[in-house]
């Protein structure tokens, strides 16, 4: 009885019932399958493009890094670390100042260390106060030798007085010795490979020729090696 009445109802209203059921099915399909899949598709399309781009960048970077000669880079790093060490290396700096003074016919009467006054800034340095005696005519050459030495040093102040001998002078030179604790830590994998410019390449090669062979090929890659106390003023 019920079935018959349902059939009769369908027969009467089938013109409306059939398209409504089909429309409902279509809405279900669109709402639960087509739209979510389409949104996901578009979203992942962006990710895919990004991944492809990143993969391309990394491949190019790997290809660039393959071209570097690790031994050559290591050697250049050693040279750079000798010129601008990663630690204070007081002994090396004092020895160098004394050696430069001797090369210019000066006698280093005393060498003292002090921290850079004023502090501040990112510059890492300390002062070597050199009390020297020697020929007046070679003083300029001494100053230039200090500033062009194989270690980054700057003359900060000069006090010059006549010595006992007429052609000699006695001077106190405050030399600022620079170092840098910054290490080469690579950033993200996507960061581009840094390259030396032609000028920088020339500079490092020039420094390599200036450094004694024992130093330039020595075991100083670890930043000159920490000798003695890190800070003797403490």
């Amino acid at each position: 009885m019920k079935k018959e009445s349902l059939q009769k109802f369908y027969q009467t209203y089938r013109l409306y019932i059939f398209p409504s059921v089909v429309g409902f099915c279509c809405l279900i399909l669109i709402g639960f399958i087509i739209m979510p899949q389409l949104l996901k598709l578009l979203d992942l399309q962006k990710n895919e493009q990004q991944s492809l781009k990143r993969s391309g960048i990394l491949e190019a970077k790997a290809a660039e890094l393959v071209n570097f000669d690790p031994e050559d880079i290591q050697k250049k790093v050693q040279i750079a670390l000798n010129v601008l060490p990663s630690d204070k290396d007081y002994i090396g700096a004092l020895a160098l100042v004394q050696s430069i003074a001797e090369q210019n016919s000066f006698i280093a009467d005393s060498l003292s260390l002090s921290e850079t006054s004023g502090g501040g800034g990112s510059k890492e340095s300390y002062i070597i106060r050199a009390n020297i005696t020697g020929p007046k005519i070679l003083f300029l050459s001494l100053i230039k030798s200090l500033e062009n030495s194989i270690r980054v040093m700057r003359v900060q102040s000069i006090e010059m007085t006549p010595a006992k001998e007429a052609s000699a002078i006695s001077a106190v030179i405050a030399i600022e010795v620079l170092y840098s604790t910054a290490q080469g830590v690579s950033g993200s994998a996507d960061s581009p490979v840094l390259k030396l410019t032609a000028i920088e390449e020339q500079l490092i090669n020039k420094l390599g020729t200036l450094l004694p062979a024992t130093i330039s090929t020595g075991n100083i890659a670890t930043g000159g090696g920490v000798r003695g106390k890190q800070n003797p003023f403490q």
Partner: protein, 181 residues
């Protein structure tokens, strides 16, 4: 001669036929729409499957390249360290400090007949010097020489005479204070 058509079917039958025809039309249109929707749904699913396969491929390639790059991490660290150092070194090397430039300037611009008794150059580049002169005639030439020097690196903006004394031996001592730009 015109044909004469006589409809002998009852009116209800015609109405029923029209209804059936209309339903058949609606039915076929509805089924076509449903099939299209099915087709679109299966197309999006197929595209998603293809896309996820492509993404898997790209990701595995990415992992492979990252693994390759990690093998060069040491080289990259060294290159960065080298670059940073060389940039710092380049900014200092070959560039004379102000003190060195001023000393060179004084050496160049003080006449040979005049000797420097004492000299001090401070951090700011201000120089204090005591000169030994045989006579006062050369005083003007010393000051003019310092002020009118053609040096590109150092320009003296102010010269102060701190003192002038004459010893029993007739030797003059001149104390100067130089301020440079």
């Amino acid at each position: 001669m015109a044909l004469i058509s006589i409809n002998l079917l009852p009116e209800e039958f015609i109405v029923e036929q029209v209804k059936k025809l209309k339903f058949a039309k609606i039915q076929s249109i509805s089924i076509a729409i449903l099939l299209c929707t099915f087709f679109l749904a299966s197309l999006t699913v197929a595209l998603r499957i293809l896309q996820s396969q492509r993404i898997k491929g790209v990701e595995s390639k990415l992992t492979e390249v990252e693994g390759k790059l990690s093998g060069y991490r040491n080289v990259e660290d060294n290159v960065i360290l080298l670059k940073n150092r060389v940039v710092s070194i380049n900014s200092y090397l070959g560039v004379s400090s102000k003190d060195a430039l001023i000393y060179e300037f004084i050496e160049e611009n003080i006449p040979a007949s005049t000797s420097i008794n004492s000299l001090s150059i401070d951090k700011m580049g201000d120089a204090f010097l005591t000169l030994v002169l045989a006579d006062t005639v050369s005083l003007d030439s010393i000051i003019n020489g310092l002020l009118e020097s053609k040096s590109e690196k150092v320009k003296i903006k102010e010269i102060g005479i701190e003192g002038l004394s004459r010893g029993k031996d007739g030797i003059y001592k001149l104390s100067l204070k130089l301020k440079s730009n």
